[in-house]
């Protein structure tokens, strides 16, 4: 993956496949602690303890079209390369929490990338799922909740291309306001 936003786009597909109705994406950037934390939490069908153990194994996958599943292993590799880590907590029937931490000052740390685009694309690509996106940069928080957006849109589908473009712009300008890129890495 070229950047972290693409990893997020990828991991969210796991939550979608687990039939989640609510997916929470949290990004926490802390320049003082030199830490970047990405958390993806869903209320999907969850995984058994045994499956959690092997979820980071590239030869584990729930699909039948192929034998490998690289989404989580690649994210784990990229997190560990920076000195960070990846952890998964899951309970059958309740949901899954995936947490990846990165050390942004490490030269191997990927940039965050087009996170506004990824969120906009994901929420309009899955109109039936609710998303909450929290982005905290050095204590400044921006929250985006599709429930609020859908209430305002009333009958108009969140999947409309013009709505998607609009949401991307809205997220982008809010992130700019809470100073995206204060870490010094490319955004």
């Amino acid at each position: 993956m070229r950047d972290l936003s693409l990893h997020i786009l990828d991991i969210i597909q796991n939550s979608v496949a687990a039939n989640a109705s609510l997916i929470e994406i949290s990004i926490h950037e802390d320049v003082e602690k030199d830490l970047l934390k990405i958390t993806i939490k869903d209320n999907g069908k969850g995984m058994s303890k045994e499956f959690v153990k092997i979820a980071t194994d590239p030869y584990t996958t729930s699909r039948t079209t192929r034998k490998v599943g690289l989404g989580i292993p690649l994210l784990k590799q990229n997190a560990e390369r920076t000195g960070g880590s990846l952890s998964i907590t899951s309970e059958l029937g309740k949901g899954t929490i995936l947490e990846a931490t990165f050390i942004p000052s490490n030269i191997d740390c990927l940039s965050l990338g087009d996170i506004a685009g990824v969120i906009a694309l994901t929420v309009s690509g899955n109109p039936l799922i609710n998303f909450i996106y929290n982005h905290n940069i050095n204590g400044n928080l921006y929250t985006f909740n599709t429930k609020e957006v859908k209430e305002i849109l009333e009958g108009i589908s969140i999947a409309e291309p013009s709505v998607c473009r609009y949401l991307k712009e809205m997220i982008q300008s809010n992130l700019e306001e809470i100073q995206i890129g204060t870490f010094g890495y490319k955004t």
Binding site: L6, L9, D10, L70, G71, G125, N126, I152, E154
Partner: protein, 131 residues
């Protein structure tokens, strides 16, 4: 255009969204739209499916083609990612492989607009000889 920031701005924009939808629904063939699925699994994303999807959504709207662009999982053609499935109204779906923005443009101009087949089709049989 002023910077878009709050949900209030969204409320203001609502009418313009609605008028676009109305315009489209009053079009010549309501309900007959092109359906496009972009494969968005790890393999697709790593090879640039996000760019292709954004391009498709934007260009189809710009060029005034009634369409729905959605995401799907891996279709099993990881070697040919990014792959997209295009279904013209009343026709069998066709899967294209190695789609970048240039290829996507060609698909829109030739296949979607004129029904001409372009290179890069992945042969897929939905029906086997047996049935």
């Amino acid at each position: 255009m002023a910077k878009i920031k709050s949900l209030d701005d969204l409320r203001v924009m609502k009418e313009s969204f609605q008028s676009k939808i109305n315009l489209r629904e009053k079009g010549e063939n309501p309900g007959s739209h092109v359906q496009i699925k972009v494969a968005m699994a790890t393999c697709g994303i790593a090879s640039g499916a996000k760019t292709v999807m954004e391009f498709m959504m934007e260009e189809l709207e710009k060029r005034g083609i009634e369409s729905v662009v959605t995401q799907t999982g891996c279709m099993g053609y990881c070697y040919a990612e990014p792959t997209i499935e295009v279904k013209l109204p009343g026709q069998e779906p066709v899967v294209f492989g190695y789609v970048d923005t240039k290829k996507a443009d060609e698909i829109i101009e030739k296949y979607i607009k004129n029904g001409e087949l372009v290179e890069g089709i992945i042969p897929m049989n939905y029906e086997t000889i047996d049935n």
